[in-house]
Amino acid sequence: MSTELTTTAPAAPHLGVGDRVRLWWDALPRQAQWVVGVVGVLLIALLPVLRPPVLTTVGTDFGGVLAQFGMYALLAIGLNVVVGQAGLLDLGYVGFYAIGAYTVGLLTSPSSPWNATDDWLSRDWAWLAALPLAVAVTAVSGLILGTPTLRLRGDYLAIVTLGFGEIVRLLADNLSTVTGGGRGLNQIAYPVVAQSETRPNGIFSAGNTAVPFNSGTFWFWLSLVLIVVVLVIVGNLERSRVGRAWVAIREDEDAAEIMGVPTFKFKLWAFLIGASIGGLSGALYAGQVQFVVPTTFNVINSMLFLCAVVLGGQGNKLGVILGAFAVVYLPNFFLGRTELFGIPIDGNAIANYRYLFFGVALMVLMVFRPQGLFPARQKLLTYGREVYVMARKAATALAGRGAGTAAATTTDRPGGAR
């Protein structure tokens, strides 16, 4: 926002759509924010049930696409903590996704030597038990990777993390006695709940194909719940000493250190939290697909996750969710389509060239909107609300008035707008 003034009238602060939405949101009372939030989430949850004709995918099941979006959204939120908030370029994020998925796979797949489902885990709730374990294992892996590498900066960190992503995939590919190598691990456990005659293996089973309440829909709902939980946690961190430390490190690491920020400690926390969220998403993936192979965790996926974050707007946790939606949904939208608005197209070819299109899209974005589609203006103060509401109201009130009365209005209304 520019603070430049002309001599005739104060320039109205330029408000984009995002600014207007924020202004409107901040002006809502707390209860109203909750209502709007709950209604919004419910509407999103209804998507796979309503399957709006404009949005619904043709070539593949819409519920499944949304379930995949849910996982990518989690990945984007986790990667956003590392890249967007703390400014640590992590090119091997797919490694954490893989570790989460493989932890669940190794514990619950019959083809794994460490399969515990015959032993102390019941197959019915094995997935649920493996979920926190997967998160814990990825958190530890984040710690192991972060402790030596977070002393590096910028490009060097990016290269080391890139290597990490590849190492995880190559291990999965080559430790064939444990991970099944290229054949992968199959029959991974999933939550067996709400069994019925039409759904003999429960609602989360891949065998549940009864549209609209198929397995994809239920996995999407499960991931939606997890997204909300993760958003609350990440939001609380953002509006605390931790979030401020991350942004300070991103802006100027040396200055942050000299201002008393324990930079290494908070960088490690960012890595650990990002890794855990990636592991959570991986565990969801393993449960939904019930099958993991190393090729799913190619480094190109890391780039796709990063693409979601950059596209959505680094540092904006809601923006990156929309970025994840674009990354997952757009290729699937074209898949199987032979015409769009009456124009004949080869949808499958377009979907296959998605990396090309995302690459071009990123380049265009970097030229015209380098901050991403939904740039961040996160609130870094828990009790900053009153201050910001006040400031924004004063700003809009001033924008609508002439220059002469502008100064008077701010001081004439002490606390009146509250």
């Binding site: 926002m1 520019s2 603070t3 003034l5 001599t7 104060p10 320039a11 109205a12 602060p13 946690i233 609380n236 961190l237 605390s240 000493r241 931790v242 979030g243 401020r244 430390a245 942004v247 300070a248 991103r250 802006e251 100027d252 040396d254 200055a255 942050a256 250190e257 000299i258 201002m259 008393g260 920020v261 324990p262 930079t263 400690k265 926390w269 939290i273 870094l380 103060l381 828990t382 009790y383 900053g384 009153e386 201050v387 910001y388 006040m390 400031a391 004063a394 700003a395 001033l398 924008a399 220059a403 502008a406 100064a407 701010t410 001081t411 209304r413 002490p414 606390g415 707008a417």
Partner: protein
């Protein structure tokens, strides 16, 4: 010895402020506005949000809660003990020894390249001395981490402004207050009682500090959008927020016009009167002579003078260092 005179001068200025509350605060932003007195769109009156901050005495109280720690005034707070800094073949500091005493404003001056900023960096832990040591508050700084040095009580500003430009002015200062906070990830996730108390306290203190340095009205503007002078003041507020015992200012008046320099001098005195010890690196001789209690002069990494501003400015070695030695004097 230098202390009583300096303190008296300082309190006179303090009284001036009490007589005319908020004068300095209101004056500053207006200077940057072409048509005088019109606030920029995003500016607002802090008093609307925190009515109690309209009272300067309250501000001063929040800024320096333990302002009567004058007990040990005059005792050495920081000691440079034979500090030598070598970068390869270059000796930037050569066995520099001096003390900074509690409650004084010490000026560190010298021609360009004399080693002033190196000296600063050695004190704040950016560099580790090649030889000698820095003792702060009776504790050798040795291998203490930079963020812990800040927590011990040394805060600094930067010669080239290094604010967190994406954050608002208020958030910048709150980062400074965080140096004293203990909440970590668990406390923040579960919004513990301590976390909430710390956040409240941080916000109040940060607002008060912004008022104190005179950028309160720009609290919610992004640091990058602040006028140059306000950015320099904001850096001081951020450093003060870490509750330092020693505040190191690296050329705070760089790029200021004479009127702004006068205001800055008043601000520095006000800071000292609140119980802080100040180390000032500055090129502007009028500012140094006007505000400091004692001056240390460096040239080519060596200390060449140490004493009252008056005496130092008459010292032939200092004059030679600044103006060069006349040809006939060497003959």
């Amino acid at each position: 010895m230098t202390q009583p005179g300096g303190m008296a001068a300082g309190s006179e200025h303090g009284d001036e402020h009490l007589g005319d509350p908020g004068r300095a605060n209101r004056q500053t932003p207006e200077q940057y506005l072409p048509d005088g007195g019109v606030e920029p769109p995003a500016a607002f009156d802090v008093a609307d949000v925190h009515p109690e901050l309209a009272d300067e005495a309250v501000v001063a109280e929040i800024v320096a809660p333990d302002r009567d720690i004058r007990a040990e005034v005059g005792e050495p707070l920081l000691q440079m003990q034979g500090v030598t800094m070598r970068f390869g073949g270059l000796t930037a500091l050569d066995a520099v020894t001096f003390d900074i005493r509690r409650g004084e404003i010490l000026g560190l001056i010298g021609p360009n390249g004399a080693g002033k900023t190196t000296c600063f960096n050695a004190m704040t832990g950016v560099y580790r001395p090649t030889e000698g040591q820095v003792v702060f508050d009776g504790k050798p700084l040795g291998k203490i981490k930079r963020n812990e040095i800040t927590r011990l009580g040394i805060a600094r500003t930067f010669q080239n402004i290094r604010l967190f430009s994406d954050m608002t002015a208020l958030e910048n200062v709150v980062v400074g207050t965080d140096a004293r906070h203990r909440t970590s990830v668990p406390g923040a996730v579960f919004r513990s009682k301590r976390h909430r108390a710390e956040e409240r306290d941080a916000l109040d203190r940060a607002m008060a500090l912004l008022e104190f340095v005179g950028v309160g009205k720009r609290a919610t503007q992004q640091a990058r959008n602040l006028p140059y002078g306000d950015q320099r003041r904001l850096e001081i507020a951020r450093a003060l927020a870490t509750e330092p015992k020693l505040l190191c200012l690296d050329e705070p008046a760089a790029g200021f016009n004479p009127a702004e320099k006068v205001e800055l001098m008043e601000l520095i005195r006000k800071i000292r009167d609140d119980g802080y010890t100040v180390l000032l690196i500055e090129h502007d001789m009028r500012l140094v002579m006007g505000v400091t209690d004692r001056v240390v002069v460096l040239e080519f990494g060596r200390k060449i003078a140490d004493g009252l501003p008056r005496d130092v400015s008459a010292d032939p070695a200092v004059i030679a260092a600044y103006l060069g030695v006349p040809d006939d004097a060497t003959a």
